[in-house]
Every structure is written in structure tokens, then in C-alpha cells.
Symmetry: C2
Subunit: 153 residues, 2 copies
DNA sequence: TGAAGCCATGGATGCCATCGACCTGCGCCT
DNA sequence: AGGCGCAGGTCGATGGCATCCATGGCTTCA
């Protein structure tokens, strides 16, 4: 992980469909060298995936909400997590410090679907209560931040 | 926007670096046809960007937190937003219904940096108070959800 | 029923991914 | 000090891919 790797990561975060030739021009190496570096970053798990970012409204997912979950005192966290994992509407799931054990980002088509989702989560064994906040608008999402050398950090 | 477009979007959300030839095989069309469809989806803004998903720890961003912001009663929302926008640590920013006007996802390297960021946000004119919750672990993030035809939704 | 437009097909062409061979600089061992 | 081995680079070749263009079919609307 050196400065060139960080630049490659930055370039791929800006445009994951860049060709290796293009990346090579940008960082001043040959295409095979870039190919090998990117392959190693993928193998190391640093580059996890390449994803298209889609306008949610265009695919019928116009409602975004954040849901906090308070667990029952005796809840089995693994069971709760497994139940959450199979709900496709849950885009992100963080295990949090604080009263609310989980914080979810969810995406559905309509307020009615959001209601059904909340009911389903509340019925999940181990879930004591939920707190939902609806996003009126998304100012920005998943904005890439320039990486730093973790050794320096 | 038909079923094939939705499948193309799904394939690109799973792997944004798929070649057009590969996409064509998956959906049963020719490569030029896929090329044209994807181009139109990009032009329409449905496909916004292609991004590499990076392990945050590997680029020195191991601390994730969610911050809620309560605005001053007389705050100019545009000014607050502009101040937030120039903070690179803020990965996502939603304008919310409820007491907390904004909900942020932030990513920093250390708890000390998180503290500095919170101070900076609290000092921003128009910000009355903030509430921060730290993510102990990320169960999953940005999991793609199968799209639906928005006309049906 | 006819015409027009949209869209897929198939071929051609130049660029790209990718493999193998070789080179170079550095650290280590003798 | 000198040579060995390795990590990581360039170069060249080749097969596949992106992309443009001309052609032809299907649908839709008058």
C-alpha cells in the first residue's frame, strides 16, 4: 500500500469502469503493472466490489429511512442480525454503541411499504422497539473521501 | 425502462466492471444493444456513477459514526448545508423529518478526529446541537436491492 | 395497410486485457 | 565485496472487446 495504490483506489472510486490502460496513464505505470496492483488490492480485500450507483427513484425505491433498533434485554444478537439480514430493504446495518443496538438504512417504494417493514422488524424476536426517521431528501450519499496512508493515520 | 434494463442495472450493481459482452450474454442481447441501453440509462441519470467499494480500514478510515443535527430556529438551511458539504469526512447527508434536520454518516481515522469533527460541526453557524452515535461494527453497507419497475410500484 | 421510427443484428476495425519473457534494483547471505 | 533471489517493473504478442455503421425486422400510429 503506497501512494500509487492510494491513487488507483481513488481513481476507481471516482470511476470503477476505467480501463487499466486509462489508470496506467493516470499513475504513470504500464497497464500490466496496474493490472497486477489492482489484482493484489482485490485479493487483499481492500477493493471489495465495483458497484453502479443508481438513482433510487428510477428503480422504484423512492423512500429512504433510518431505523434504530433497541433489543430486548435477553435477545440473541445473532438471531436478530440473521432476521435483519434476510430483509432486502435494509441497505446498511451498523452495530452501534448506545441504547439503540442497530442502526439501519432502509429503502422502499412507498410509505405503506415502510410501515410494513417497521411492523416486520418490530415483530422480530429480540427486538424491543424501533425508532424511524424518514429522509425528506438526500443531499449526497457515498461521497468518496480521499484515502490516507493508514500507517500515517 | 423495461425488464432488461432492470436486469442490466442489477448486473452493474453487482459488478460495475462487467464488460458489455458479458452483460450481453447475461441478458441475451448483442453487445452493441447493451452498450446503447446502458448509455441511455447513464444519459437519463438512472446510472449515476460506477464506484469501487473500499474497505475503510485499509485507507485509514476505521471509525464510522452517525451524527444527527438540530438546527437553530433562525438558521439558514442552505448555509448549514454548504458548511457541511465542504467537510470531506461526511460521506452521506440526509435532510430529515423530525427534530434533527440532518442525519450524517461520517468516516474518520481515529476517535480524536471524530471529536474534532463534532466540534467543528457544533461551531457551524445555524447548528444548535448534535447527537453522535458510534458504529462498533459494520454488518453490511450499500447492499444492492433488486429494483422494481417504478410504474408497477 | 402503409410508413416511420425504434431497436436489434452482424461485420469491420482499432484499442484493450492479459500472458509470457525478460530486465532492474535492492536486500541478504556467504 | 560479490553474487543470488525476489519483488515488481517494461515490452511484445495475441485474442477478445468496444464501438461504429449499414441493414433489416417489428411495432405503432395514422
Amino acid at each position: 500500500m503506497d501512494a500509487i495504490d492510494l491513487r488507483l483506489i481513488g481513481l476507481l472510486r471516482d470511476n470503477a469502469r476505467s480501463s487499466y490502460a486509462e489508470l496506467a496513464r493516470q499513475v504513470g505505470l504500464s497497464a500490466p503493472a496496474v493490472h497486477e496492483r489492482v489484482g493484489k488490492l482485490e485479493a487483499a480485500g481492500t477493493l471489495r466490489a465495483y458497484r453502479a450507483e443508481v438513482e433510487p427513484e428510477a428503480i422504484g425505491l423512492g423512500v429512504t429511512a433510518l431505523i434504530g433498533i433497541i433489543e430486548d434485554s435477553g435477545a440473541d444478537t445473532d438471531d436478530v442480525l440473521a432476521a435483519l439480514r434476510i430483509m432486502p430493504e435494509i441497505e446498511s446495518c451498523y452495530f452501534m454503541a448506545g441504547v439503540e443496538s442497530y442502526q439501519l438504512t432502509v429503502r422502499v417504494g412507498t410509505i405503506a411499504e415502510l410501515e410494513q417493514l417497521i411492523v416486520r422488524i418490530n415483530r422480530t424476536p429480540g427486538v424491543a422497539s424501533t425508532r424511524t426517521a424518514i429522509a425528506l431528501s438526500t443531499k449526497w450519499e457515498n461521497r468518496p473521501q480521499p484515502g490516507r496512508d493508514p500507517a500515517v493515520g
